[in-house]
C-alpha cells in the first residue's frame, strides 16, 4: 500500500513577510545549532578515532642477544617485545624477526611479514628458503623473491652490533603500497 508522499500541511493563509523572515531565521538558527552540537560531539570523536594515523613511534634499538648466540650462516627467529606497549596488550606486544648472521659482525634482520599481504613467512633451513603459507610466496635466504606473488623482497630491519650484543631497530609492520 502506498503512503501519501507529502508530509507538509498546507498553510491555512498566506504567510506575512514578517512571518517568513522570522521562520527563515528560526530554521537557520535550529540548523546552525544542530551543526554546532554535531561539531562539539564529532570533532573529538573523529580526532580520537583517527589519532593512530598521526602517532609516530620512532624506532628504538633493542638488544636481542649476544653476538656469540648466533651461528654464522644460520637464520633464526628472534622474538621481540614492543618497548612501549599499551598495558593491556598482553602477548600481542610480542613480534618476531628472522635474523641471519652473515659474517663475524654482519647481521641481517628480515621482517617476518610477506610483502604480498603480510602473512608470516617461515624459514626452511635445509631448503634455504622462506615460504609464505597464505598465497605461496617464496624468498631466497637473502630475502629476494624466489617465486609467487610477493611484489618485492622481504623488508629488512636495521641491525648493528654494540658491546658484544646484537641490536635491531624496531619498526612498523611494513605495508606494501604498489599504487
Amino acid at each position: 500500500m502506498n503512503e501519501a508522499t507529502t508530509d507538509r500541511p498546507a498553510p491555512e493563509r498566506p504567510l506575512t513577510p514578517e512571518e517568513l523572515t522570522r521562520r527563515g531565521f528560526l530554521e537557520k538558527l535550529c540548523l546552525g545549532l544542530g551543526g554546532l552540537c554535531a561539531a562539539i560531539l564529532g570533532i573529538p570523536l573523529v580526532g580520537f578515532v583517527i589519532a593512530p594515523l598521526f602517532r609516530r613511534t620512532a624506532g628504538q634499538w633493542v638488544s636481542i642477544g649476544n653476538i656469540t648466540d648466533f651461528e654464522i650462516g644460520k637464520t633464526v627467529k628472534v622474538t621481540l617485545v614492543d618497548p612501549s606497549p599499551l598495558p593491556w596488550a598482553g602477548i600481542t606486544a610480542r613480534s618476531a624477526v628472522w635474523l641471519r648472521r652473515a659474517g663475524a659482525e654482519e647481521f641481517i634482520a628480515f621482517s617476518v611479514n610477506c610483502t604480498h599481504l603480510g602473512c608470516p613467512v617461515r624459514w626452511l633451513p635445509e631448503a634455504d628458503l622462506f615460504m609464505c603459507p597464505c598465497h605461496g610466496g617464496v624468498y631466497y635466504a637473502d630475502g629476494m623473491v624466489a617465486a609467487g606473488p610477493p611484489p618485492k623482497p622481504l623488508i629488512r630491519y636495521e641491525a648493528r652490533t654494540a658491546g658484544g650484543r646484537v641490536e635491531i631497530k624496531t619498526m612498523a609492520i611494513p605495508i606494501t603500497t604498489t599504487l
Binding site: M1, N2, E3, T5, I50, P52, L53, R55, T57, K77, T79, L80, D82, P85, L86, P87, W88, A89, G90, I91, T92, A93, R94, S95, A96, V112, N113, H116, L117, G118, C119, P120, V121, R122, L124, E126, A127, D128, L129, M131, P133, C134, H135, G136, V138, Y140, A141, A146, A147, P149, P150, P151, M171, A172, I173, I175, T176, T177, T178, L179
Partner: protein
Amino acid sequence: MKRLIIGSWKWLDDRLGVSHLIAPAAKHLVPHDARWWYVFGSATLLAFIVQVVTGVALSFSYVSSASQAYETLQFITNQAPFGRFLRGMHYFGASAMVLMVGAHMAQTFLFGSYKYPREMNWTTGVLLLGFTLVMGFTGQLLRWDQTATWSVVVAAEQAGRVPLIGNWLAQFILGGTIIGGATLSRFFAIHVFLMPAFIFLFIGLHLRLVLRHGISEPPVDGKKVNPATYRAEYEDLLRKTGRPFWPDGAWRDFVFGTAMIVAIALLAYVVGPPRLDKPPDPSVLNADPRPDWYLLWYFAVLALIPPKIEGYVMVLAPAVIGILLLAAPLLNNRGERAPSRRPWSIAVVLLSVIMIGSLWIEGARSPWSPNFDPPPLPVRVVGADSGPIFTGAKLFRDKGCLNCHLIDGYGGRRGPELSYVGDKLSQSDIIIRILNGGVNMPAFGKTLMPEELAQITAFIQSRKRSPSAISGTNLGSRER
C-alpha cells in the same frame, strides 16, 4: 480476569499508540501471488535479530582486551553454560545472514524488483550487504586468536594498496603501526557499535521504503515498467487482488524463518562454534591464516590474480563492483521485469554463483599454499631403500621440493605433480629446471652441491609409470 486484561491492554494501547503504529504496516496490502520467493528479506532480518540477541548475550562475558579476549572466549566456549551453543548460534547466524542477503539480492535482481519506483530499496540493500560483510570480517577478528591477528595484518596490507591514503588506512586498521593493545578494541567498537548502528538505520530505511513503495508484484512476461503509469497500475492491482500482509503474506515468512532458526540452532548444537586457533601471539610464526567461509572466495582471488595487476584489482575491483551494484537501478529502471525477457539477468546471477563457488572451492583447497609438513616418502613410493634414488628422495623433501610438488599423493600442490615426470623430462631438462628454477619455482643452483643435484635428479628421473624403467640400486617394487 479476561475483561481486566483486555481493558488494561486497551488503556495501554490508547496511551502508547502501539496498534496505531503497527497496524498500517501489518495490514498493508501485498500482491496475492507474492509467495515463497519473497521470504529471503524477512529471513535476513531474522538472522540479524539472531545476531543481536546472541551477540548481546556473548558480550556479557567477552572482554575486548587484547590480553584477555582469547581467554574469555575459551571460558565462553568451554565453561559458561550455553556458551558453546551461543557462539555456535552467532557463527551460523552470521552464515545465514550472508546467505539470505545473497538470496534476497539475487531474487530482487532476477525479478527486476529494483526498477521504478524501488531504486532506493535496492541501493539501501546493497549498502546493507556491504555492512553485513564488514560485520562478518570484524566478527572473525573478535575471535582474537592467531588467525584473527594475522587477518588484521592482511586487511591492513590490502588497505595499504589504496593510492595516496593506503598507509593511513593501514594504520587506522591496526590502531597504530603494529598489532598491539589498540588493535582489538577498534574492531570491537566497529563490530558491536558502529556497524550495528548503520545496519539498524538502513534496515529502518529499507523497511520504510518497502512500505512506501509496496512489495513488488511477481513479474509477468511482456508487462513493462513504465514510470508514468506504474504507481496507478500497482494501486489498481492491490485494490483488486491484494491481501493484507498480516497474516496472508506473513505466515510464509514465519514458516521459513522458523526453519532457518531451527537449522542455525541444530548446527550450533551439533557442529558447534568455529575452533579457536592458537593464542594471538604475533611471534609465533607457524600460522596458516584463513578467512571464514564467506570470504574464502576472496582469499582465492588474492592468490590467483596476476601479481602485475593485483594492486589495481585489490583496489579497483571492489570499488567498481560496489559502484555497479549501487548504480544498477539508475542505469536500467524501466521496461521488462520478467527474467524470461531478461536472460542476461539469469546469466549474471548464474555466472556470479559459479564464479564465487569455483573460487570458494579453490580457496578451500588452497593449492597455492605450500605443504609445510609433508611426511617422508615411504620406500614403496621411492622404489629404493638405498642408493642415489633413495638419497635423492630424502633430499627432495629436505630441500623443500616436496612442500610444493606432489608425488603419489605425498607433498604439496603448489607446483606441478611429479609422479610421472620421468616420462616427460630428460635428465638435462630436469637439471636445468632445478638449477635455474622456473615459473613460480625457486632456482636451486646456489644451494645444491653437485652430488646432491645428481641424487635429486636421479630420484626425479625415476618417477615413471613403468617400474622397470627405474634405475638405481636396491630397487623395491614401486606400488601404484
